[in-house]
Symmetry: C2
Subunit: 283 residues, 2 copies
Amino acid sequence: LKIDGKTRLCAVLGNPVEHSLSPALHNAAFEAEGLNLCYAAFRVEDLAGALAGARALNLLGLSVTIPHKVAVMQYLDEVDETASRIGSVNTVIHRDGKLYGTNSDGMGALRARRESGAGLEGARVLVLGSGGAARAVAFTLGKEAALKEMVLLGVLEHECAALCESLSRAAAFPVRWEPMNPETLKRNAAASDGVIHCTPVGMHPNTGESLLARGDLRPEQFVFDIVYTPRRTRLLQEAEAAGCRTVQGVEMFLYQAVFQFELWTGRKAPVEVMRRVVMACLA
Amino acid sequence: LKIDGKTRLCAVLGNPVEHSLSPALHNAAFEAEGLNLCYAAFRVEDLAGALAGARALNLLGLSVTIPHKVAVMQYLDEVDETASRIGSVNTVIHRDGKLYGTNSDGMGALRARRESGAGLEGARVLVLGSGGAARAVAFTLGKEAALKEMVLLGVLEHECAALCESLSRAAAFPVRWEPMNPETLKRNAAASDGVIHCTPVGMHPNTGESLLARGDLRPEQFVFDIVYTPRRTRLLQEAEAAGCRTVQGVEMFLYQAVFQFELWTGRKAPVEVMRRVVMACLA
């Protein structure tokens, strides 16, 4: 990585950001493509100042992470429809003096699936969770994928009902929700073509936990897990044992970064370079 | 250069900055010392926003260049005595949430001289020019070096008189000025122990110009030239021909950067690494 007087900067804003993989990932991609760009991580408390800085220092793009994904929206010139509905922005593009916000988290899931050679068209999809990740996946699929049906299961019933209601207005397919419990999990998993897990269950250090067991799953189903520490969560192990096709959270993380790269640079991302870096960082 | 989630950023703010040598110079120094720092260049129009950004993004240090060296002062928490007197800041240190301003341009000249094994103590010094560079050199010597006398020659008489007056109050040695013309140049050069040239005369593309010729100089004298494009200006060629000791502008540029590095990091700078980079960039 070489920085000179013409190098433009991209950055992730979050708090904390010390353990972010994004600098390694994006810098490897910039370097592989011979782009005069570099990517840094900023631990930010004063978000207004950070966004004023992004404008004044002419940063090319931002990744935005916890706890700033919602608050960042007020400092942008435009937020696209999907990010507005999700209610959070994880990607900012600086173009012609304006800051545009979008959300690549759901696209990460969708592209990870498509790159594995399959879409979600016509599928009955069960989404577990109703937080930020679930919203990102649900609204992105609502806009981008012609599902047959989506079912939401959540522990926070108000949150889940609200997500279901606003998603129903935005999506072309039917959406319904139920409170999450052992019975609803089992029944809705059985009735689905696949499951997208969007809760922290099973994340390090609670790696023994899973919302579903192999007995709840069939070989024709697919299972995505947004959790990527560990890479093979208990849920994915159960799904593999049941013969399901799986998509690891690390693939979703990778593809949301791929999507960011492509938005910032207008070029196809060097996916294999980026995958190698992510895998090396997580190994 | 490797950037991860813990890397802190330094930067130069200016307009233009596309051809700045500072990123190559400081990044090489950071890398040589194994510091988790990197240095970028930002072309800045909105200086208030840039300084808000420097705070919010927790930049470690800034270099400030044309046209922002004066205006930047209003955005800092503290400006040291020398920089206040010079009336401009080219170096900002971010420490404990505060931005401190100083000016390393004059220290560059003084250290370049000292590193060559000689000081300026007891010398009668002729300073040519009364602009920003002359102010930086004059006030820094006024504070840091026990000269015998300083004479200022300038074309802009009000500017030169004002510099002389304020410098007289700050320095422990006598200071006087005269309007710059062929006669005052010749006479004051003859009466001095050495000359510090702080005007743009002789800078690329006007490389044939010089305020002094070899006949004006004696072998016991020293001649500094702040101009560093070309490295060997016409003035320095004349001085060498007269047998004088010379200090190139590139050495002053180098040592002001060395001084910045040491202020930001609290360590001794890898001067030889930095010199190699500057020489390679200018070659």
